[in-house]
Symmetry: C2
Subunit: 106 residues, 2 copies
Amino acid sequence: MIARTPTPPYYAVIFTSLRTEVEEGYKDTATLMVELAQAQPGYLGVEPARDGVGITVSYWESLEAIRNWKQQADHLIAQQLGREKWYEQYKTRICLVERDYGFDKE
Amino acid sequence: MIARTPTPPYYAVIFTSLRTEVEEGYKDTATLMVELAQAQPGYLGVEPARDGVGITVSYWESLEAIRNWKQQADHLIAQQLGREKWYEQYKTRICLVERDYGFDKE
């Protein structure tokens, strides 16, 4: 699904990653993290995709909402496990969405 | 590959899409568009991923570079064909990358 975000400005976190071959715990944790993110104040939406490289974009009302999510207790544990087990490499980019436009066939 | 981008600030264009079932011409055009984007002034990198939803993030030095790419002649044709044939729905978000950080196991 394309996330239904409000009129800009709002924030995006682009998380790009390369996985290791370790599958143990990955999917369950990824699913749980999306559920927890959705429950955070200021959460606006998420878009995940992977083929080789993985890209997860999450959308937020403010930098404060992003900071709070980064420090959320279960998320901190998942970040630690991610570095130890699941990710070969990743990059996180914090972005201000200044403008958007779209197209819908219907 | 994770794009090797410079120290922020720079710009990101998040293009999120849902495809139709029309395959004709799609892959060739997508490949050509990446090649053309790479040749544009101010291009910094691209990260594509698709499963169900497609996310392509391209990185740029400035808003001017993004505007020039949007107006590039072959790209204009591809945008038109995209709306007619390949995309059910899409959203383009123009973002200022304010901060980034990463992790590399090696």
